[in-house]
């Protein structure tokens, strides 16, 4: 148990602090389903905080809070890997030699920072009754942009002309889709 837990924790932290090194060494050996769990939990906590913020202002009920958390998990488990897969298909044309599992895992693990921010935000939301979805949730999602650019660069042999526009589109889509969710 200890043998499994240590690399998971270490990979999450190094994806947050030193993503370039983690992408080169840790991602290929990281089980793909655990990377899905990272993005699932990260978005679960982010959306849960959004629900809690709306509940605190009296705009939504407790049912919505539960639904938000559940929707976030689905978003992180379905949408983010799909984006990783889609980017892999696009980059296949640019002689990408990484396999699809690596692409999906690296995209999901880019949200390691969002997971850490999500845990902290949830603690502050519940214990101190703060509204945390923007301060912690959005900050965590923003943190994912850097590792995501680096993941795309790894797939394109350091090509900024491809990696930066793709990361920009993905970041904008995540931001807009989350905002639409908040308006439901």
């Amino acid at each position: 148990m200890r043998k499994t837990n240590s690399p998971i924790f270490r990979t999450i932290i190094s994806m947050m602090i030193s993503p370039a090194a983690a992408l080169k060494t840790a991602v290929s050996g990281f089980p793909w389903f655990l990377s899905l769990a990272v993005s699932g939990l990260a978005f679960g906590m982010f959306f849960l905080q959004t629900g809690l913020d709306l509940y605190k202002t009296g705009q939504k009920g407790l049912g919505f809070v539960v639904l938000s958390g559940f929707s976030g998990v689905l978003y992180g488990v379905i949408f983010i890997p799909l984006v990783g897969g889609l980017v892999w298909v696009i980059l296949k044309l640019a002689k990408n030699d990484k396999d699809i599992k690596w692409s999906v895992s690296s995209f999901c693990l880019s949200y390691s920072g969002a997971l850490v921010y999500g845990i902290l935000g949830l603690i502050f939301s519940i214990v101190f009754a703060w509204k945390t979805s923007v301060a912690f949730g959005v900050t965590g999602v923003l943190w994912a942009t850097g590792p995501m650019i680096l993941a795309i660069r790894e797939m394109t042999e350091g090509n900024n002309k491809i990696s930066i526009p793709i990361a920009t589109v993905v970041g904008a889509v995540v931001l807009l889709s989350w905002s639409l969710f908040g308006q439901i």
Binding site: P19, V134, A135, L142, G146, L150, T168, L175
Partner: protein, 184 residues
């Protein structure tokens, strides 16, 4: 490599300036008076000043800690690494524009801080790519400079946000003195 150091540097400079202009304009954007020339002008000046200082500090510190590399390949190699790293600002600039003008958010400091931190990581990676070796000192230096700028921006933006209004008041007063001799 030497040809690469010069090619596209004007574009990189233009993109960097546009990103910092976006950061400045969105930081001082007033939703009640969106086309206020004082807010927009002040935002452009502060954004470009922050960008210029950040570039100079990052080049200075990375240059000082890579004196051997500078001697061998010239100072342009450091400029190239920093300018390429600055391209990582683009996704954050696009996202802050979406957040301010489409989602109508007012708390956008996080976007700028996250962008500046991403540049720190990227500049160190670019130097690592040139020397074919990742050195922890470059990561520490560029992250340290980025953190200082991120912190400075976070703290000063809260104070500077009052400046466009004061500037507008001052210029109106001066104009009234010049045209009406200060009389009411």
């Amino acid at each position: 490599m030497d040809e690469n150091l010069y090619s596209g540097s004007a574009w990189r400079g233009l993109l960097r300036n546009l990103c910092f202009i976006a950061f400045g304009v969105t930081a001082f954007y007033n939703p009640l008076d969106p086309l206020n020339p004082y807010s927009i002008g002040f935002g452009i000046v502060v954004g470009m000043l922050l960008g210029w200082l950040f570039k100079k500090f990052l080049r200075g510190f990375l240059g000082a800690s890579n004196s051997k590399l500078k001697r061998e390949k010239g100072k342009k190699v450091i400029y190239y690494a920093v300018d390429n790293g600055m391209l990582f600002l683009i996704p954050f600039a696009v996202m802050v524009i979406i957040a301010t003008f489409i989602l109508k958010w007012s708390m956008t400091i996080g976007f700028i801080s996250a962008g500046i931190m991403a540049v720190g990581t990227a500049a160190a990676i670019e130097i690592g790519k040139i020397v074919n070796k990742r050195e922890i000192k470059n990561t520490l230096i560029s992250s340290g400079v980025s953190f200082l700028f991120s912190l400075t921006w976070t703290l000063s933006a809260r104070i500077l946000v009052k400046a466009p209004g004061m500037l507008e008041g001052g210029i109106s007063l001066l104009r009234s003195i010049l045209t009406q001799g200060g009389g009411v």
